[in-house]
Amino acid sequence: MVSYLINGISLGSVYAIIALGYTMVYGIAKMLNFAHGDVIMIGGYMAFCSTSYLGWPVIPSVLFSVFVCTILGMIIEKLAYKPLREASSLAVLITAIGVSYFLQNAALLIWSSNPKAFPNMVNLPNLVIGDVQISSVAIVTIITSIIIMIALTMFTSKTKLGKAMRAVSEDKGAAQLMGINVNATISMTFAIGSGLAAIAGVLLCSAYPTLMPTTGAMPGIKAFTAAVFGGIGSIPGAMLGGILLGIIEIFAKAYISTQLSDAIVFAVLIIVLIVKPTGLLGKKIAEKV
């Protein structure tokens, strides 16, 4: 029971980190970034390459992966999304899907479809309390995500850049009039989101050590669900949504049915949205006539 709970929180923390990327980008650019899941996968491969081929130690390879994904996120934003800033949201959505296909197929060409065994990044002994055994990966995941969440909350509420980010997501035009560089702020949001995705990729692959070009797809969809679950656009919402989703998934797998666990997760999402149509912590937007 306790170990299920810990596993759930650990999986949920990964979802929460991915969901943060979705929710920040949605909040600021009002777009569903479907390529986010594939950035996770690229992050995983980067860490895999630097440790397995180059023999780098853990910390530099994680930093390398974060660095590559941050740059990748900025490039994607510059080339594919920036020209569409004024276009309809559906056009942006399809472009994001195009980017997602591109990343998946590029990975397929570079690393082939054979699953790669992800190296063990966390070389620590498992924690044993009484008769409950907790894997070290779970503990590292939970601690990392707590640090990220605190850092991100501090960043958005205390720093100038973070405040600029919130201002742009409230009202682009007004933010520009106040002297905020809107384009640079959006670009930075993508950079942060993609960097987080890289960390999530490493954590995800440490817990489930098979790496394929499609690795990011399902966690991507689930984290997106988590972001909506908590109220999309809201940073605490994404954290709460992610962790709840992880716990529900692990418990559904353990007590109800392994095969139907995804169906149960999505069913819970639907029930929540029907009761509270803007998610758990989402703001209710009054309609102007």
Binding site: I97, Y101, L108, I232, F266, A267, T278
Partner: protein
């Protein structure tokens, strides 16, 4: 005034006749090509999937273009229709020996069951708006896939048996047959679909949607899309008409699914996942939202495109992705569009000059 009305009407009518014409020409050309043996076997195998995808694109256009709701779970209805169709076709194998008859029954029942799924899903879903609605349709699509992945159906003398666990728990009598076996899907399906029936299905769907657009309910649906509050204030029952568009679209997707499934000897639930929903959405958006002709052309071209890109071999899906991104960037860029228009005009002028 009366004259103008007449002109407008005839313009509309001729526009829809052009659409029927395109579909019929498509049929005749490919029929001739395949009977004279000019059609490669890989392209020939694509004909029925193309029909199914065209119907999918048309039906999704009804939701996305005309009703203005983003649906990301359209493949769910396709799979409901597909597996219902397979069960119907397989279980009637002995009582209805005529294959075409069985195919038509499979299409109709597939559409009905998908329509019922549409009602069940539509009632809760249509309370939500925008991206929340999109994510819930996505969730329903995943739920349908997940449940079908665990569904076992068998038949014996006592009738149909269902189970969500495994094959033995169907308790089939000796001589009974399993039709659906969970993640393995349907095995040993008799291929019934024909290109002709596919074309008839497209024409029927096209006829229905084109008439719906110009009817009272169609105008109500468009009014809700353009301004829900104003439409509500005019006394249009919003939920009723939204649900109507959603359910009709689901039923059409069901028929498309049955057509698609009965073209293969094995069908797995995994085929109808999120990626298929997205693929159909790509057809609709590239063809132009709300533009039926665009949907038909985009669905046909993009289904064949990966085949045409064969020479790029491993790179073909990469090229497909780049084409997709470039098309979206160019069509949404004023300067690029004027450039494209000007070049087309220049080429036209040149060819006219040369002709003269």
């Amino acid at each position: 005034m009366g004259d103008m009305n007449k002109k407008k009407l005839s313009k509309k009518a001729s526009k829809s006749f052009v659409n029927y014409g395109i579909v019929i020409c498509f049929f005749i050309v490919f029929q001739i090509l395949s009977s004279t043996g000019h059609l490669g076997s890989s392209l020939k195998g694509q004909l029925i999937p193309i029909c199914a995808y065209i119907v999918m694109a048309l039906s999704l256009n009804l939701v996305v273009g005309i009703s203005g709701e983003l649906s990301l779970g359209h493949a769910g209805f396709m799979s409901v229709g597909a597996f219902t169709g397979v069960v119907v076709a397989q279980s009637l194998a002995s009582s209805v020996p005529n294959g075409q008859m069985r195919l038509i029954m499979a299409l109709i029942i597939g559409a009905l069951v998908a329509g019922i799924a549409g009602i069940l899903i539509g009632i809760p879903v249509l309370r939500l708006r925008g991206d929340y609605l999109a994510i819930v349709t996505l969730a329903f699509g995943e739920i349908i896939k997940n449940v079908l992945n665990c569904l076992y159906v068998g038949i014996d003398e006592r009738g149909l048996h269902f189970s969500l666990k495994d094959e033995p728990s169907l308790h089939l009598e000796p001589g009974g047959k399993t039709i659906l076996s969970g993640p393995m899907g349907a095995l040993g399906v008799t291929k019934l679909s024909t290109f002709f029936v596919g074309i008839i299905l497209i024409l029927l769907v096209l006829f229905y949607i084109q008439n719906l657009i110009d009817s009272r309910p169609g105008r109500a649906i468009a009014a809700i899309r353009d301004n829900r509050i104003a439409a509500e204030a005019c006394g249009i029952p919003v939920t009723k008409y939204k649900l109507m568009a959603f359910v009709t679209s689901a039923a059409m997707a069901g028929a498309a699914g049955a057509l698609y499934a009965l073209n293969y000897s094995t069908v797995v639930p995994k085929k109808f996942d999120f990626n298929t929903s997205i693929l159909v959405l790509v057809f609709v958006v590239l063809g132009g939202i709300g533009n039926l002709r665009g949907s038909i052309i985009a669905a046909a071209l993009l289904t064949v495109l990966p085949e045409l890109l064969r020479e790029f071999q491993d790179y073909r899906m990469l090229v497909y992705a780049i084409v997709l991104i470039l098309v979206m960037l160019i069509t949404n860029n004023e300067k690029a569009m004027t450039f494209v228009r000007n070049t087309i005009d220049n080429i036209m002028k040149k060819s006219r000059k040369e002709a003269a």
